[in-house]
Amino acid sequence: MTTLSDPPKPGFRPSQLIYDTRYRSMTIQTVAFILLMAAIFWLVSNTIENLNALGKDFNFGFLGQPAGYDINQRLIEYDSQASHGRAALVGILNTLLVAVLGCVAATIVGVIAGVLRLSKNWIVSRLMSVYVEGFRNVPLLLWIVLIFAVFNESTPQPRDFRGEDPAASMIFGDTVAITNRGTYVPEPLFSNGLGDVDVKPGWIFSDLYFAISIDLAAIVLTIIASILLIRLINQRAHRIQDATGVRPTTWWVNLLVFFVPVGLLLWYLGFHLGYPELQGFNFSGGTHIRNSLMALWLALTLYTGAFIAEIVRGGILAINKGQTEAAFALGLRPSKTMNLVILPQAMRVIIPPLISQYLNLTKNSSLAIAVGYMDVRATLGGITINQTGRELEGMLLLGLFYLILSLLISGGMNIYNNSVKLKER
């Protein structure tokens, strides 16, 4: 006779919290959560206590008070009577300006340098190696300060351009003047301009108002419309090629569609360039780009360009040599091989690190502090904090701005990346 013992009851014992893998993860997470909350509570209560001790409160009212300082380089209307919020907005736009300019220029420099570094030309590839290694291995801050010093110390003063036999002369056919007070470039002018339209979405933020030039908007819209039309023409050419095997010639139609509408619009608006001219001891007319922006832009471009060059080189090298050989075996010419076979594959390797370089450039633009360029760190995170004593709120807003900008860039680029990446099972 056998005695059957019951299997142990599936009741819950406290030791299972530690020894049973089903519950252990819950235990660990609960402990981690409690610790995390305790840490956050500790930080917040410390902050409240410290604020009370200093007699400060936590509010963002300072954004509405008049700023009282000037910003010399700005994209939108601003004067010292405007509010701190408006100053922050000017700073944000300045940050975006240098970031966009830098990203565009760095991409161009980087792609050229990366391709040239792979060139079979011995001297060119060595020269590009020197450029890439030189910029990659020296701090960006040093390059910014160095280039700023070059602009300030080694460029001629405006008065050197005067007289019969001037010590300095303008470049590019007397259109661009590089001086120690800044660079003067021609500005676009419209003699029959349509004027500006004031945009004031006051319901978002009372300091958010700016003027949009109708001329500029019209030009941009025309170009977008032309590009859409060109895409339609190319799709039609594709269809005809698929159906008949013969592709209609489209290049001259495309050129016409692209240039004629914009040309007509520019002619209608009376487009002409306003050249900088020497008047007295300084230049007038044209657009004045201060040395701080030029130095920051140039340094960011060259520095990030060196990194992008390595990314481009790596991307091209990552493509199997068999791809090139197969393309040649199909009878494609070298240019077609590059455009149709190598580049589309290399782009997949290049895009993700390129995104992080754009992010780096945007964040590095905060080094504007070294040259006194008024970006958002200098307005909101600098003078405003010093004047109002609101370092907690100011730094919080500043951090949020950079965080949102970074997330937006990486988010947008990830969408693009997903659209080009290899579709696997």
């Binding site: 530690i18 981690a32 410390n46 964040k363 080094l367 904090i385 907690l392 951090g399």
Partner: protein, 435 residues
Amino acid sequence: MSTTDLSYVRTEMLPQQEPPLAEKGVFKWMRENLFSSWINGLLTIASLVVIYVVISTLAPWLLNSVWDANSLTECRDILAEQGLDSHGGACFAVLGDRWHQLVFGYYPSELYWRPALALVIFLAGLAPVLFTGLPRKMLILTALVPFVAFWLLWGGSIWLPVSVALGFVVGFLALKFLTPIVGTLAGTILIFVLPILYWLFVAGPLASGLASAVPIEIQFVESRAFGGFMLSAVIGLSAIVLSLPLGILLALARQSNLPIIKYSSVTFIEVIRGIPLIVWLFTAQLLLNYFLPPGTNFDLTLRVIIMVTFFSSAYIAEVIRGGLAALPKGQYEGADSLGLNYWQSMQLIVLPQALKISIPGIVNTFIGLFKDTTLVVFIGLFDPLGIASAVRATTDWNGVYWELFIFIGLMFFIACFSMGRYSLFLEKKLQREHR
């Protein structure tokens, strides 16, 4: 078949002729490497023009440089004697006059041997980590290096670093003796909790007690005195040493399948990476006191080291996450099927492979970190660029720009370039797949 006389056929070989001029030696090399097509020819000529312009501008300036003078005016007088204008030659005399500031900042000059010795000890401690040929026992000495270096740099009583180091001994003893008794999970918790309790409650009294009982101390040097490349090295190297383990932990947390741990790690990494270092440095300077209990006030250099460590650990975590993700899933499953627990499988199977893949990224992060130490100039610390401004602010050397920039740039270049080369060397050495 008639036998025809073929006597016109040559019976002996002709002597070999020289290849044509265009197919040998320098000409062949130039034709293939410099002028293979007209576009290459243009590029070559453009490059030569660039090189000529750079050399013709810089060479006279460098060749006529003055190495021995006490001030810029004296330097320019020497140049004028040679018939050159004030920008006709470089004035590297500033380096001879102020090298000690550029290297050591305001560290007391009679104590320069201490940072120098600390650097030597650090490099000696680094050797067994970098070159696997050396005996493994030396790694124990490496573990002591941070404490010795700390004591040499800041000075003061020897018992402070000793009692801090004892905390790690406490953790090690817990691992060795307590874990077998209380089990893995409780042991893991104790490994972290016991040293923290020790540091919070025992280390301070122990250090002061020992210091009063057996006073062994060297002259204390304040952090304010640190400057120049020494400051860059102290911030950079401590952040490198501290951020690697932190980065590994963050990466493991981000890959974890426990949601709360995973999302705290994701938030930490993304917030740190989304905001520029300079904003974090200002946070360390302006805001850190808000977050700590009232009355806490600790050293700015230490705050900067903590901030820079957090910053670079977030980047390293992302690099290592890439390495972890690149491992085939079979490696994780293989480790599980062997019955290894989480830490064993990470330590023995996953991390060695993942870290190997991430080496280039890690070294690149370190290079970036070292370059970023120059940003501390904005919160009032004297990094090499800050020292350069300070030198320029004196009446003796007012107006010296390029010489200082060249020197600082060259020093950074040497440090960063050699780090990059070491990473290439390591990559080649650890390459196991033959392609």
